[in-house]
Symmetry: C2
Subunit: 243 residues, 2 copies
Amino acid sequence: MKNKRMFWNIVEKIETLIDSGAYPPGSRLPPERELAETYLVSRPTIREAIIALEVRQRVEVKTSSGVYVLEMKGAKQDSRPCSAFELTQARALVEGEAAALAAVTITEAELAKLKLTLEAMQKGINADQADREFHIIISNATRNNAVVLAVENLWKLRDTRDEIKNAYKNVCSQSDSDRLDEHTRIYNALKNKDSQAARSAMHHHFNRLINALFAVSEAKALEEVKRKSNETRGLYSLNHLVN
Amino acid sequence: MKNKRMFWNIVEKIETLIDSGAYPPGSRLPPERELAETYLVSRPTIREAIIALEVRQRVEVKTSSGVYVLEMKGAKQDSRPCSAFELTQARALVEGEAAALAAVTITEAELAKLKLTLEAMQKGINADQADREFHIIISNATRNNAVVLAVENLWKLRDTRDEIKNAYKNVCSQSDSDRLDEHTRIYNALKNKDSQAARSAMHHHFNRLINALFAVSEAKALEEVKRKSNETRGLYSLNHLVN
DNA sequence: TGGTGCAAATTGGCAAAACCAATTAATATA
DNA sequence: TATATTAATTGGTTTTGCCAATTTGCACCA
């Protein structure tokens, strides 16, 4: 993709240099003219790149003095490490309560929409999409936007952290029938306006998920041990000597 | 402050025009040359402004075609209306579960820190700060970063929406002793590692808050009715005729 | 010797002109 | 009428030039 405009490449390169520590925070970048020379582009192009970096809050340009790199605090958001287990536990708590709330506020229309997701999941097409819709509908049924926000943020966490995404992918696809059963049980509790049952069913749902995650995690750990063992075996093997 | 560079002014003007609907989403901005003429600046300056808008995801520039304004969905996050009641209910649910979790994972050190906040609150200095610390410590005690995140996001919601901030301000300051009692009760439950009691105490805490919010809300509604009534009375009054 | 002030070099800000490449619109032709 | 060709539009980039603010260094003076 060379369709990108020239200055985006410069932005990328300079940003890489900043991240690599070549231009530590507080330091001054080389003058525009010099950058233009080193990157074999004209000065306006360099200026455009610098402006892009400035808008992104990566650098600060002081007229007649130079452009200075400033440390980014935006990355602080990402820096809260969070495992799939933690996320699932949190979802169990939050969505469990959401279900309990929704049991007394959910409408017939929302129940119908829930039923549609169950049918979609049964057919197996877009099961993950149906899963998401199921949980979103319930959070919306609470009539509490703060709850909706909390639930959404946990979904966002799942979407943004690759490690979590992979962990879920391994688990979700392997036990669709379990998931469908659990969703159905949650649906029935909501239909019966039974808060306790709804909460319990939601907890059950996530509990199974956590156990599945554990199982996968264990399996992976075992595999890792095996692999390392094999490496070691290879290291000390005398197979190449005997024949 | 005319220290700003020329293109920032252009960015500001164009952004205003976009927000005002003069350039609706999907529409095309005038060509660079034309903009340069109308704003009495050179083309590079216009280009810089457009690049700034592009980095901000306000416009999209298609080579040899034009620059098109695209709708911003970043502001949609903020625009989820959410009342103080909703927030408080959500906090009750989430923090209630957090407390229940924390009851089994909290350390002696954290209990000690909690005690400090109680003492600070008793002295009355920085009571709101102590309040915040109290809740944060508990969420951290869950050893679950996803839970911490959920709690943090609800605090953020409180901080960002002025309407909510004001509602809380009216309530918090008027019943410090209640708040201290409730915090103490939560603390004791955590100290006893009693999940049920911790959840219950947290719920009780927020329940009082909701009731207080309702009371204030009612009072304000009454006041409003009175004010309008007075206005009307003024409108139809004959006081100026009789004497 | 040390401090002060002025001047030159550095550096970013902006403008103008010119050319290119891609897209789009208009037009002419089959 | 449909299609192909052409011309105009539009953003992309470079080059050049000058300006203003800042920084730097050196000379001069105390």
